[in-house]
């Protein structure tokens, strides 16, 4: 097995670089799927096979065969050019791969093209007040009456619920089954009567996530992915994808480089931070981990190609390390500013628009989201290392 980039790949990279150079003025600087510029950019990228690359063309994708090296080259080039790689979000990164694997033909046709184009924006209804790390303990119920599901309950930490057109939602449909086998995966519109959204302000003072309440929400019976009771299996297809996308070593390297620049201007006791041995040592610890992430990524790729080791486990390690590393890196940025690291929000002494403080907190959110580091370590130890499970306490299902 050899991961050499043959000449084919070098040509591919050159073409991509030329494409980015010629078209970067068309790329949106920021802006979600509601922004027409972002949607036009998405269409252009799909037409050239630079996003939605392997999704079949009958579902609105570019229809190329999977080629992990090309996908990797695409990610690298857009990151290093600092140009938007196309639309993201939970619909594209999580629901589309799930439907491709578990959806009916009709569901694929109904939902994938409009999701890829940005017309349909999704949110994910998973966590509940009593079901976070132990997601399978969720209690939101769906009861089939005639040809409709009647949904009652509450979701929490639902990112972009206030912006979404649709939700993919885990609900309990088989209350008497063991907890993992009683869940179903439903799709429904967010403007269905009986849905109430309340914004939650996160610790960065952003209100991106929400509480979502369901009171007798009526959903057509066919809007289920997989069979009744298969929801946990369906959700796990997505969880793998989510963990995959949370840690990008190229971005971590760019932040590290910015940190080095900051440390050249910040001083302590009249000396530049960049010259102080303790800070240099901390920088090198982080640099080593950024590099390891990058090389780990290559090994994950090669294991996918090899079908050798457990790629899901390797991805979990990527999520765990990538989010912890960014949190630590951004935290060092705050340390470096000394007392001025206390500034926030509209404070005129704020450095770099508050990026260090906001990222530090935001990455703490990502350490928690999709399974806290502690949960990840449990899974790695049990599934990866074969250590015994925690004994069930009395009363657990």
């Amino acid at each position: 097995m050899d991961l050499s980039y043959g000449p084919e790949y070098e040509v591919f990279r050159d073409e991509l670089r030329a494409f980015i150079a010629a078209n970067r003025h068309l790329a949106p600087v920021a802006g979600g799927p509601r922004d027409e510029k972002a949607r036009a950019w998405q269409r252009l990228l799909i037409a050239h096979g630079y996003t939605a690359r392997t999704i079949p063309s009958e579902y609105g994708g570019a229809g190329y065969p999977p080629d992990l090296l090309k996908s990797r080259i695409i990610a690298e080039e857009f990151a290093s050019a600092r140009v938007s790689p196309g639309l993201g979000g939970q619909g594209i990164s999580m629901l589309v791969p799930t439907l491709l694997e578990m959806g009916t033909e009709q569901q694929k046709r109904d939902f994938i093209p409009s999701t890829l184009s940005g017309e349909t924006v999704w949110c994910q209804g998973y966590s509940e007040p009593g079901a976070g790390s132990d997601l399978a303990a969720l209690r939101t119920s769906a009861v089939l009456k005639g040809d409709e599901w009647i949904i009652n309950g509450q979701k929490i930490w639902t990112s972009t619920a206030h912006l979404a057109d649709w939700i993919f939602c885990l609900v309990r449909t088989e209350p008497d089954a063991p907890k993992h086998l009683g869940i179903s995966f439903l799709l429904f519109r967010m403007d269905t009567p009986g849905i109430e959204i309340r914004p939650l302000v996160d610790m960065t003072m952003n209100a991106n996530f929400n509480e979502v309440f369901f009171t007798d929400v009526r959903v057509p019976a066919h809007q289920i992915v997989g069979r009744r009771g298969d929801g946990w299996k369906v959700a796990n297809v997505i969880l793998g994808n989510e963990r995959d996308s949370l840690a990008d070593p190229n971005i971590a390297q760019a932040r590290l480089n910015a940190l080095v620049e900051l440390m050249k201007t910040e001083t302590l006791d009249g000396h530049r931070l960049i010259d102080q041995p303790i800070y240099r040592d901390r920088l090198m610890r982080i640099q080593g981990r950024v590099m390891a992430m990058k090389y780990n990524e290559l090994r994950v790729l090669s294991s996918k190609l090899n079908q050798g080791q457990d790629a899901a486990l390797a991805r979990m390690i990527v999520k765990l390390q990538g989010t912890e590393l960014r949190h630590e890196l951004e935290g060092l940025g705050i340390d470096v500013m000394g007392e001025r690291g206390l500034a926030y929000g509209a404070n005129p002494y704020l450095q770099d628009s508050g990026a260090w403080q906001v990222h530090y907190m935001f990455y703490l959110g990502l350490i928690i989201g999709g399974g806290t580091s502690q949960i990840q370590k449990n899974i790695i130890a049990e599934r990866g290392l074969g250590l015994p499970r925690e004994p069930k306490t009395a009363g657990a299902a």
């Binding site: 050249k264 765990l320 990840q376 449990n378 074969g386 250590l387």
Partner: protein, 396 residues
Amino acid sequence: MGHADSAVKASLPLSQSMSFSDEQSMLLETATAFCRDKSPIATVRQRMTTDAGFDRAVWDEMVALGWSGMAIPERFGGSGLTLAEVATVTEPIGRHLLATPLFSTQLFVQAVLAGASPTQQALWLPKIVSGAIGTVALFEQDGDWALDALAASARIEGNAAVLAGNKILVGDALQADCFAVSVMLDGAPALAIVPKADIGAARIRRETIIDETRRSASLSLDGVRVPASALITGEAARKALEAVRHAGLLLVSAEAAGGIAGVLGVVLEYLNLRKTFGRKIGSYQSLKHTCADILIGLERSRSHVYHAASLMTEAAAGSDIRAIDIDVALRMAKVEAGDSFVFAGDRAVQFHGGFGFTWECDAQLYLRRALWLQYAFGDAGHHRRRLADTLLSPVG
């Protein structure tokens, strides 16, 4: 973007062939089976009690498998492969604590390949291929990791050089057939290639070291005479020392990566066996999470080691790879593998409770090896300091 930005980026080249070739995968499988077979833990302990510290019959088998001559060109009878292959077999050596003079011998090989005259190469390399043991005498009493800060010296007398001074931590010295000894000559580092007979048994004294699975000795060089033709001087000496340092960093890191896998195996077995408060201790999260941390350290170490090995292979094949990038990759590998193995060994001892503190517990064998590897060729703090000097703007 400033200077440091470009410097940091430029020094992160991605190896183009991170994963194993088919040949390397087969080699890893062969080596893993070999080491498991030849080095069960009871045998490791038995060999620790012997003078040589290793089993000559096992060494002969490794020689027959071509391992000693792996990185030696075919024109000297070797396999013409690279240090990446030596690293591949070194990982399972670390995993199974196999006692062997392979590491010492490979350092000697690198010194000779990089710096010695064609005559010296033709003299020594075929002997290594057929089983001779080589070693390097580099370090001195001050414990400095800089290979060119030397008190030992040589002075020319006619056609010979006369050596003076002392060396410590010379691996496998009592069994070695030939030595590469670093000395100062006319104010610059040089290497003398010396057959055992010219050193003499009286000058070699066994040292007790922290890793009982290894053998080490001090050398007294006073009065040792070497023909001038056996000296490596000037630029050749600099290259030879650099090659030895690189090989040392790569192989020590590979051995440490293997060691993490080995000690993790020891830990997992115990955690699945031992019960306290009515349950297996492996079900406690504090132990589980630490095991996950050890696994992550192992994965990180392997990634750095494979990457460094790949870069060295590509450089050897003529790719345009800067020396500074190889240096960075090797130091990073050493930092990660060194720290991670010491952490793993330390926790492995702790997890065995009171038994862990006893000589009987196998975890301590790994911890003692981890410490040896951590301090060989520079510990993590030393390398982070050097990495900062390379990757960041100089202090000032």
